[in-house]
Symmetry: C2
Amino acid sequence: MEELQRRLLEMGGLVEAAIHGSVQALAQRDGEAARQVLESEERINRMEMENDSLTIGLLSRAGTDAGGLRLLVAAIKINHDLERMGDLAANIARRALTLMEEPPVKPLIDIPRMAQLAERMVGQSLDAFVQRDAALARAVLADDDEVDGLRDSIYQELARFMQEEPGTVPRALNLLFVARNLERIADHATNIAEDVLFLVEGIDVRHTG
Amino acid sequence: MEELQRRLLEMGGLVEAAIHGSVQALAQRDGEAARQVLESEERINRMEMENDSLTIGLLSRAGTDAGGLRLLVAAIKINHDLERMGDLAANIARRALTLMEEPPVKPLIDIPRMAQLAERMVGQSLDAFVQRDAALARAVLADDDEVDGLRDSIYQELARFMQEEPGTVPRALNLLFVARNLERIADHATNIAEDVLFLVEGIDVRHTG
């Protein structure tokens, strides 16, 4: 079980680096960073499959109590959430490679800020899981509201650009999808935080029972 | 285990109806259909939580073999995929309610076609799960390629609309996000089909071993 948690943390580290790299690729027009994200996606995918096997092995051990089972069920979900995040970071890297071939629409400010928040949410949600820290999980939920706010302002700004300069439509759409991908990454971190709250509240309920 | 499969099928039926209702709301400007989708989202959310409890109960039974455990792990993932689909259908319903307040951008043809495919994929992926039918699971993967093709043509068409008539940008963006939501619903059905292939191939591998 400790090995599984260690591996989920390691996978989370790869995901954070992939988010960082994908937005660096976008903001700095850094093709090498984009290619590294695409490579790490494959490694994240392999880890997901290995973690599933490990979890099935742990589930097949006799004598796991209800708390242990809830933990393993949470691990299955978290593993899948992390794989999805790696996939979304790879999508951003691919859009960065497309956008590099054309002049920039505008300086990027809100998107890097959104990426920074998403990275932090991934790290904190996994720390909350490993430490069963409900307060930290709630901090992740609060960050998600900020991410949604940034998404709304990016959305408004890009819609205005598209209306004022229709020639920017294809590039602005790519940026809009980057913002959506970051929003979804944040949603997956939120899923993890919710799993943690369920885990911890489950434990509390049994204690009061 | 049979009860769990029955419940997943029932949840799948609700999801199919929600996809259908959300696109009916959009195409027919039917507010009542949209509201029904939003109600059924809550029911789907409740079912997800109940199914998780049921699965944890089944996992805690002694003597489940490796095949049974793989099945339960697949059930946890499928349960989550179905909940996400219900959420995405609710997003479409909300966008339909927004779009109803303004004149239509264009007659909808590809979006209803995409919805039809997505509905079929949900039904077939669950049938493939219950019947352990790898061929049916592969049919779902093939449908997903068609969905991606439709998404690309919707994307091109709406980008052209936005460039030619900038006044359509906000409405066209809403339609674009509907197409993305349908694409993601299809992706979740694809996840289920992939889980089925893993299940069936896992069984095959053990048979040859």
